[in-house]
């Protein structure tokens, strides 16, 4: 299977950017994700879809180290990240965009960015923000909590990109957004991948966005992958809908 033409050339070795093998996770006494496996090639964008409560967010939280891994292995660019705490996983070069409470509301836009950017060169990080969402540079002193809902989501994406993370785990960035903002985010995501070869795992409910942005899709049903394919296949839309509507 060849990667879509929009992909940058894969690195010489074919180590996946993210490899999840037989991962099980959940909350005390309740297994939510069951022996899930997936491999993302460098520069690949994968959309994970599924109805509410099927384990999409749990999968991201488990990969990120926020939830205990009851079994399985997680590797990032070949490095075993299974037992690492969240801050060590983040420092490997993984950016996590949570669905809720993902900004420090009482801190300024700039402080939110500074917290995520560990590199000494903050100017370079700001340049990245300017490329994606120029309006944020005029709002650096504004409290993040006073931005509109759409602006907050754009700040979230900008913060993840500013870190230079090589893998982004994004949890329903489109939730509750106007179509114009969703289009803007889709453009930024594709542009970031084209320029940096960033690998992304997007948990989504918004089907048109997922199909427009991702190379491949997978449907999570009761904690297991029920179906998967390439977004370029003509029946992708119909197959995903079947799982979402049941």
């Amino acid at each position: 299977m060849t990667a879509p033409a929009t992909n940058p050339p894969a690195s010489a070795n074919d180590t996946p950017a993210l490899a999840v093998e037989n991962l099980s996770s959940g909350y005390a006494g309740a297994v939510v994700v069951r022996e899930v496996s997936l491999a993302l090639q460098p520069g690949e964008i994968r959309a994970v879809l599924g109805k509410n409560g099927m384990g999409k967010s749990t999968l991201l939280k488990a990969v990120m180290g926020f939830l205990p891994k009851m079994g399985g292995v997680v590797r990032f660019e070949g490095t075993d990240a299974t037992r690492l705490p969240p801050h060590r996983i983040a420092r490997l070069g993984i950016g996590y965009v949570a669905q809720e409470k993902a900004l420090f509301q009482d801190l300024t836009v700039e402080e939110n960015l500074r917290l995520a950017v560990r590199a000494p060169d903050f100017a370079a990080a700001l340049a990245e923000v300017e490329t994606a969402f120029p309006f944020l540079l005029k709002r650096l002193r504004q409290r993040a909590g006073t931005l509109s809902g759409g602006e907050q989501k754009m700040l979230l994406m900008a913060r993840a990109l500013a870190t230079g993370a090589r893998l982004l785990l994004v949890d329903e960035i489109t939730e509750g957004l106007q179509p114009s903002v969703i289009d803007r985010l889709a453009g930024v995501i594709r542009d970031a991948r084209a320029r940096h070869g960033t690998t992304m795992l997007l948990v989504e409910q918004h089907l048109p966005f997922a199909l427009a942005v991702a190379d491949r899709w997978a449907v999570l049903d009761r904690g297991e992958f029920a179906d998967a394919g390439a977004t370029t296949e003509p029946d992708a839309h119909a197959r995903i809908l079947r799982h979402l509507s049941v």
Binding site: H87, E111, A116, T163
Partner: protein
């Protein structure tokens, strides 16, 4: 009148010095460090040892910070950290350690009440009043303490990370911030501040193995009405400390000793966020 004004301001300064360490630990770790009183006692004895060795009494402050900081490191590492996620147990553990600390001090120094030398002896004439020089000196010391901590929190990378952990620890971790290290450093600093407070108050009273305990209750109530804000803490120290002075003067010193706890409880009933802004 002037004497009362000075009493209020100096009392607020003392309370502020005593409560800041407790406030920082509460903000970051969401637990009340009940070893705070024991650490204050430790600082008092650091001042006593400084006096007994015939050293400059100002050296009591860095000595207390050193002993308190080292004790805090040990408490965080071996008692608080293993109880991460079990805040009530962590609080009980610090209470138990406070008792152990008091007993160790009793074994080492005996039960007796002892006195330390004051860095500033005698009185100062201020606005026609002759007032204790050391009590007055505590006001600028408390101000410097507050400004220093504010500069640390608002002006440094570590301070920004600390504020991030106070607001949302999981989010901070997801951005690569080592919140475990922030907790450790905060507890160490909070413990050092407790011991410094102990050294600061000993010239006003005396040193005994339980000297820190009565302060703990007031500091605890002040922190509860102040949230995690150093500014709110200054405000509550002034208001509640002022009320304590007035009640002690016009009603009775016994009631004065209860004033802060009672008023704080009433305030929390009416306005759960206390002196914090939102």
């Amino acid at each position: 009148m002037i004497a009362q004004g000075l009493d209020i301001v100096t009392t607020a300064a003392i309370l502020y010095a005593v409560a800041t360490g407790l406030l920082l630990v509460f903000g970051v770790m969401k637990i009340i460090n009940f070893a705070h009183g024991g650490l204050m006692t430790l600082g008092g004895y650091a001042a006593l040892v400084t006096t007994q060795m015939g050293l400059n009494p100002w050296l009591a402050i860095p000595a207390a910070a050193l002993f308190g900081g080292v004790a805090g490191m040990a408490i965080e590492r071996f008692a608080v950290r293993p109880l991460y996620g079990r805040p009530l147990d962590a609080i009980l553990a610090t209470w138990g350690l406070s008792i152990i600390l008091g007993q160790l001090i009793t074994i080492g120094f005996g039960r007796g009440v002892q006195f330390t030398r004051s860095p500033l002896e005698g009185t100062l004439d201020l606005l026609g009043e002759s007032y204790s020089a050391w009590r007055l000196a505590l006001v600028p010391i408390a101000v410097v303490l507050g400004l220093g901590l504010t500069a640390l929190l608002q002006g440094t990378r570590l301070g920004l990370e600390t504020r991030a952990v106070i607001m949302n620890e999981d989010l901070a971790r997801g951005l690569g911030i080592n919140s475990g290290l922030v907790r450790f450093l905060t507890f160490t600093l909070g413990s050092a501040l407790a011991a410094v407070a102990g050294a600061l108050i000993t010239p006003l009273s005396s040193v005994d193995p339980n000297m820190g305990v009565p302060w703990l209750v007031n500091a605890f109530m002040l922190v509860l009405v102040s949230g995690a804000s150093l500014f709110s803490l200054a405000l509550s120290c002034l208001v509640l400390g002022g009320a304590q002075v007035l009640v002690s003067t016009y009603l009775s010193p016994v009631l004065g000793g209860l004033t802060i706890a009672v008023l704080a409880a009433v305030l929390l009933r009416i306005r759960p966020q206390g002196f914090a802004r939102d």
